[in-house]
């Protein structure tokens, strides 16, 4: 765990994804000064739409209101070093950022601390279950890249989703809170029908879970009162009306340069996602192990949902590692995709911007990259990887469906007996390694860990 932390701390100051880190940096500054992030993003969007007459959106802070408060303390810490003047200016596509040295690397390290802590927490919890799996997560190049090279916050979603799953059968209130926190990026919303159906009839647990979820959604309610149009536009209109694409078979759309057409055809993906969720509900809503159920819903949403960015897989990667049916090598496809979509040197801007010589090399390399991109040479492998990754997701989904079908046949007769037997077989080994993290949960949930039921 310490080694995982050290690796991340060593990399963090020197790399970034300018657009994403820039958004967090800019939003942290704004939140610290009491600004309304959604009003800002909405105003920018209106400005773009007014200028172009097109349904284009400013890609700024489009996350849960609570998320920024994970970063604000670390932004504030960075201002203690760098002062009140910005050390990173702009960076929103297509602009490149201006970085102020020597403060920019310090800011980058500090602003990534919440992501690093989330990663370390995942490693800690996985280590309590299976050290090999914890090692895979800790040193997986894909996870390290997304969290500290890129500086993307999906590890925060991952820790909350993992802990929500682990606490689901033991403490519904805590599980609800943790699930609500996993909505920092909104794509885990597809799990809500699963949780609702699963708790249907268990009214006390349902009330607790929903109460926990509602607590985390309170800030959204606040913004819905103070600036309803802005938050609706940023969280619902933008997220719901995005053009499809990403590491999936929908990225052919990048070739079609017609925004109205693109938006129209993206509705197909929305319909397919809805249908897949509806089809999965009877299968997993009431029965089957929760881990597989969560993964089935998330894999289906990644497969049919319209946007699947490279970093999304991090959010379910710990769960994939825990699932016997899933292949953890799935990460290879989105990892490869990153380098097809963006040149490797793009993430090294903090290093390359430090010297005029490096800067010049950047410009030369970028000219070549843009020529290759403009010729369409990269679109072909990107499309192939997108389809390949979708098919791998599908293959994993089928394995989960097959395994749970087999399980369901048995459970029709003897559900409880089977699960008890399974837990009895696996339990002693796993539970022995789990004690430290179970103690942590016991502390948070203010309850004694109940033996041999946590994984149900």
């Amino acid at each position: 765990m310490l080694l995982a932390l050290a690796v991340r701390l060593a990399i963090a100051p020197f790399f970034m994804h300018a657009g994403d880190v820039g958004t967090i940096y800019e939003s942290s500054a704004m939140a610290l000064n009491g600004g309304n992030l959604y009003d800002f993003v909405y105003a920018k969007t209106l400005q773009m739409q007014q200028a172009t007459g097109l349904p284009v959106f400013f890609e700024g802070y489009a996350y849960h209101p609570l998320l920024i408060y994970f970063f604000v303390p670390f932004y504030w810490l960075s201002t203690l070093f760098a002062g009140q003047y910005p050390v990173m200016i702009d960076g929103h596509y297509p602009s490149l950022p201006i970085l102020v040295y020597p403060w920019a690397p310090i800011m980058l390290l500090l602003i990534k601390i919440p992501i690093i802590l989330a990663d370390v927490a995942v490693v800690y919890i996985l280590a309590g279950i299976d050290t090999r799996k914890a090692e895979i997560y800790a040193f997986c190049p894909y996870v390290v890249f997304i969290s500290v090279v890129w500086g993307m916050l999906d590890a925060i979603v991952a820790i909350f989703l993992l802990t929500s799953y682990l606490t689901f059968s033991r403490n519904s209130l805590l599980s609800g809170i943790l699930y609500g926190l996993s909505l920092m990026k909104l794509y885990t919303i597809v799990l809500l029908p699963l949780f609702v159906v699963r708790l249907f009839g268990k009214w006390k647990e349902m009330l607790q879970f929903m109460g926990g979820l509602a607590l985390t959604v309170l800030p959204v309610a606040y913004f819905l009162i103070v600036s309803p149009t802005s938050i609706w536009n940023v969280l619902v209109t933008f997220q719901g009306g995005r053009i499809m694409g990403g590491v999936n078979f929908y990225n052919f759309i990048w070739v079609v340069q017609d925004i109205h057409f693109d938006l129209g055809i993206s509705m197909i993906a929305n319909i397919m996602l809805l249908v897949s969720i509806v089809l999965l509900l009877p299968k997993f809503g009431r029965k089957g192990p929760l881990l597989e159920a969560i993964l089935a819903f998330m894999l289906a949403s990644f497969l049919f949902g319209k946007v699947l960015n490279e970093q999304f897989l991090v959010s379910i990667f710990p769960l994939i590692l825990l699932c016997k049916e899933c292949d953890s090598r799935l990460w290879v496809a989105p990892f490869a995709f990153i380098f097809l979509r963006s040149p490797f040197y793009y993430f090294a801007l903090p290093i390359l911007w430090a010297s005029p010589i490096f800067y010049n090399s950047y410009l030369q390399a970028d000219t070549v990259w843009r020529q290759v991109q403009a010729a369409g040479y990269l679109q072909i492998p990107m499309y192939a990887v997108g389809i390949g990754f979708s098919l791998l997701l599908f293959w994993n989904l089928l394995r989960i469906l097959d395994s749970t079908s087999a399980l369901t046949d048995v459970t029709h007769r003897q559900t409880r007996g089977f699960m008890r037997g399974l837990i009895r077989t696996l339990g002693p080994v796993r539970l022995a390694t789990l004690r430290p993290c179970r103690a942590v949960f016991a502390f948070f949930s203010n309850s004694r860990p109940r033996n041999r039921t946590w994984r149900k």
Binding site: Q50, P94, F252, I253, V255, A374, Y383, L391, W395, L398
Partner: protein, 273 residues
């Protein structure tokens, strides 16, 4: 379920081709962060998004011998063009609206309101600047590189040179990727004050036009001629034809691997019985 997904993926892969052949022609289409593009019978015109001062517009030709290629004829730059001393890109609020074959780009600031109408015709592209009062304009039109402008070559004018005042500018260029030569023509509706050409490497990369008027239109056209035999070349606009092939190949590979995997599994389970 596998068959459904395979059909779904392959069907969707034809979307760019269907759009390209049936829906994308002869209309201004917006995309990206607010750029507009027009694909006509002979010309492609790009008008870049508000965050980029280049290609305002960029006129390109589709050669008859390589119709998928887009060869630049001339690019209007907002980065380096001025009206009454104000830079088109930095000093104006801009709104862009399509209206039929014309793109209406409005540049406004407190004391000036100016329209740039970009009209796509079958045989040429017209860029018309209109204001309700007289203005002084400095326009910069770029191409890398023109081998001659109105008969002058780099040998005649190695330094930036003012050429005789005219309303017709003809230039030539070479396109190595297609082994062809091209000619371009810019016809001005009003007599300008000054026209200059700017040398760069083996030719000229810029024509600047200064004028004082309340309106001015520049009609751009071009032709391409192959030199010798032409060979098919690859470009970005061939992608709609390639993506279905990619989809079919990847899906077929998956189906093959899946089938083989199932066979092996069956064999293993039979032998274990």
């Amino acid at each position: 379920m596998t068959a459904f997904l395979a059909i779904y993926i392959i069907s969707l892969s034809f979307v760019p081709l269907v759009h390209d052949t049936l829906l994308s022609r002869n209309a201004w289409l917006g995309y990206g962060t607010g750029a507009y593009a027009y694909q006509g019978q002979n010309y492609f015109v790009l008008f870049n998004d508000p965050y980029d001062g280049s290609s305002k517009p960029h006129v390109q030709i589709n050669p008859t011998f390589a119709p998928n290629d887009r060869i630049p004829i001339i690019e209007f730059s907002d980065w380096t063009s001025y009206v009454d001393g104000f830079n088109f890109f930095n000093d104006f609020n801009v709104t862009i609206r399509p209206a039929g074959q014309t793109l209406d780009v409005t540049y406004s600031r407190p004391d000036i309101l100016l329209h740039k109408f970009v009209t796509a015709n079958p045989n040429n592209i017209t860029v018309e600047m209109v204001s309700d009062k007289e203005f002084t304009a400095h326009l910069e039109l770029w191409r890398w590189v023109m081998t001659s402008v109105n008969g002058m070559t780099i040998k005649d004018t190695p330094k930036p040179t003012q050429i005789p005042i005219t309303t017709q500018i003809e230039f030539t260029f070479q396109e190595d990727s297609l082994q062809s030569t091209g000619t371009g023509e810019i016809v001005l509706s009003r007599v300008p004050v000054q026209i200059m050409i700017w040398p760069f490497e083996n030719g000229f990369n810029k024509i600047t036009i200064d004028f004082v008027n309340s309106e001015m239109s520049l009609t751009v056209s071009g032709t391409m001629t192959p030199v010798g035999r032409t060979y098919p070349t690859w470009n970005y606009w061939d992608l709609p034809y390639v993506l279905p092939v990619v989809a079919i190949l990847v899906v077929a590979a998956y189906l093959l691997v899946d089938k083989r995997g199932k066979k092996n599994k069956d064999r293993a389970s039979r032998s274990s019985r």
